[in-house]
């Protein structure tokens, strides 16, 4: 079903709330293993677009497929094939590290032996051996985010959606986080990531920039910089975002 390794494809995808058009006819595609940056100022419509792709909200018009399934008609199989890490923290603070892993493994229907095996592997790669029984609330933010990402891809989804995953941590911690993203991408998992941080935008394979619900630019960071004659993604972004008429949420 997945043609040319395309895992996300949208065509004039639109979402209106009353008279307000949050997402205005966006079309793009994302390939297997690609790291796709989804940029935009607050209120540009990033989160709404992402929620439609995750099957959390139905589009008003337009088409979209995720992992080969239609987002309007078949949100259920989509949910089995994606991982989701939300802007706000997506693990349970009062549960221990391994309990969180087991919970999400269970929710995605993995067997106990699969969960046990992968848990050990995950704790080892994250260097979480000692923190197996630590309640998540006792972990530093950077480590929580790494754990949340690993849990989001625990069931080996085709795509993982990250909604501002690295909010509140310093560039060094962000870089460590991106190591995990590259690993996932190398394993063939497409990474769909929204972010405010322009240093992160540089790490993406391709970047789309949303303004007022529309995609104003979509290309690799290098080509965008070239096109807008800018030194950094930050300059590109400010140049494009200046055209915005909507104010933040």
């Amino acid at each position: 079903m997945i043609m040319n390794n395309i895992v996300i494809e949208t065509e004039n995808l639109t979402k209106r709330f009353g008279k307000f058009t949050a997402v205005d006819s966006i079309s793009f595609n994302v390939r297997k293993g690609e790291i796709f940056g989804f940029l935009g100022a607050n209120g540009a419509g990033k989160t709404t677009a992402m929620r439609m792709l995750c099957g959390l909200s139905k589009p008003t018009s337009g088409k979209g497929t995720v992992a080969g399934y239609d987002i309007t008609r078949r949100p259920e199989p989509i949910k089995r094939n994606i991982g989701y890490m939300s802007q706000r923290f997506s693990l349970y603070e009062d549960l221990k590290v391994w309990e969180n892993i087991r919970l999400f493994g269970g929710i995605y229907g993995m067997s106990d032996s699969q969960i046990a095996e992968k848990t050990n592997e995950l704790l080892h790669t994250l260097d979480f051996g000692k923190d197996r029984n630590t309640p998540v609330k006792a972990l530093p933010l950077g480590r929580k985010q790494k754990l949340a990402f690993s849990v989001a891809i625990f069931h080996e989804p085709k795509i993982v959606f990250l909604d501002e995953p690295t909010g509140g941590v310093d560039p060094a911690a962000r870089r460590q986080f991106w190591e995990l993203i590259y690993d996932a991408s190398d394993r063939g998992i497409a990474v769909f990531v929204t972010t405010h941080y322009m240093d992160e935008a540089e790490y993406c394979n391709r970047v789309s920039i949303m303004v007022d619900g529309r995609i104003k630019a979509l290309d690799t960071p290098d080509k965008l910089k070239c096109q807008y004659n800018a030194d950094s993604m930050n300059d590109v972004f400010t140049h494009i975002a200046r055209t915005a008429e909507r104010t933040g949420e």
Partner: protein, 369 residues
């Protein structure tokens, strides 16, 4: 089913990790029932007695002396006209009025039977019961005394007890069913709604909704631990009431459990309904407190008898689930009646579940907007 059980397990962890809540949930019912229990068994002392003695003979004098000598009673005045009685009570100048019949001694000696009246104010039913039963005991022991000393060994004095103002003593055993209603409502409705709203507030609900687990399973998983806790509490309350407070379960325990389960389901669906209306934990707490707790306390018949409410409030009390539950529990537990007598209550509770569930499922946001 595996995703569902994974969620149930997580809900249990949430509760167990929050030690204070667990303590409140398990200790509060015990504390409440003990407090209410001692409230009904208050001992009454220094009972002021007024005596009406138209026959004024040897027997009545001896009985009056005996009552006066008893540490619990003080004879404070005598009356000669029954019309005075009402006034005495209204001015709170007496707790008990004893009125002898005319020719008390003569009747006692000739027919072997004499009667007197014990009149008390039953607006405080517990006190009224205590006062009259103390007095009846003193009279009985006096009778036993005279029976021993005479040839006719079966002389009878029959005290006729008259409870003024609230003759049926409606609130006597009310508190056990009442506390049951209150606790089950609190745990199921309040805790369930708070835990659903908390999940939404923290943002973890979104992660669950983006996963393959069905939203309805997420919600059902949340109700399981509270259902379990409610059953534990129900058992505790019943054991305490039977063994500590001597309020027996006169009717069928099975029927009582079935009705309690029905009520628990009403409360759970109310909790679900609240969670679909409010957006924050404090709001959930407030709504449960104001919309659920207060009516249960005030309008369910737990404290104030429904029969003595103004008509409007009586009418409103019909939509309080606890009213029907408490009525049914009283019938089964206190009066020992069978299923046919609680058909109406059962039917009301079942239809309440249906209606509330329907509204909340309609409200329930399968997809967050």
């Amino acid at each position: 089913m595996k995703p569902f059980f994974a969620c149930v397990k997580k809900e249990f962890y949430h509760i167990i990790r929050d030690v204070r809540t667990v303590l409140i949930l398990l200790v509060m019912p015990v504390a409440q029932i003990i407090i209410f229990g001692f409230a009904i068994s208050t001992e009454v002392r220094n009972i002021r007695v007024a005596v009406g003695d138209p026959s004024n003979d040897a027997s009545t004098q001896r009985l009056i002396n005996e009552i006066d000598a008893n540490p619990y009673f003080d004879i404070t005045r005598t009356i000669d006209n029954p019309k005075q009685i009402d006034n005495l009570f209204r001015r709170d100048e007496t707790d008990l009025v004893i009125v002898f019949e005319e020719n008390f001694n003569e009747n006692l000696l000739r027919t072997g039977e004499a009667s007197l009246q014990l009149i008390t104010d039953a607006t405080e039913p517990n006190k009224a019961t205590a006062v009259t039963s103390y007095a009846a005991n003193v009279i009985k022991s006096y009778r036993n005394g005279i029976n021993k000393g005479t040839a006719r060994a079966n002389m009878q004095i029959s005290p006729e007890i008259k409870l003024l103002y609230n003759p049926q003593q409606k609130s006597a055993y009310n508190f056990v069913p009442g506390v049951m209603g209150l606790i089950l409502m609190l745990i199921c409705a309040m805790m369930t709604s708070i835990s659903i709203v908390r999940e939404r507030e923290l943002g973890t609900m979104e992660v669950l909704l983006a996963s393959p687990i069905k939203p309805i399973s997420v919600i059902l998983a949340k109700t399981v631990p509270y259902l379990t806790l409610s059953i534990v509490n129900l058992a505790t309350l019943l054991l305490l009431s039977v063994f500590v407070l001597d309020v027996p379960v006169a009717g069928s325990l099975g029927l009582l459990s079935v009705l309690s389960l029905l009520f628990i389901f009403v409360a759970l669906s109310l909790g679900l309904l609240i969670s679909t209306i409010v957006n924050s934990q404090p709001a959930a707490m407030l709504v449960s407190g104001m919309v659920l707790m207060m009516p249960v306390m005030l309008l369910s018949g737990m404290i104030f008898p429904i029969e003595s409410m103004p008509l409007l409030l009586q009418w409103i009390s019909n939509i309080i689930p606890a009213r029907w539950f408490i009525a049914a529990v009283k019938k089964i537990m206190i009066e020992g009646l069978g299923f046919t007598y609680v058909l109406k209550e059962t039917a009301v509770l079942v239809s309440m579940i249906a209606v509330i569930m329907l509204i909340s499922l309609k409200n329930f946001k399968y997809r967050l907007q």
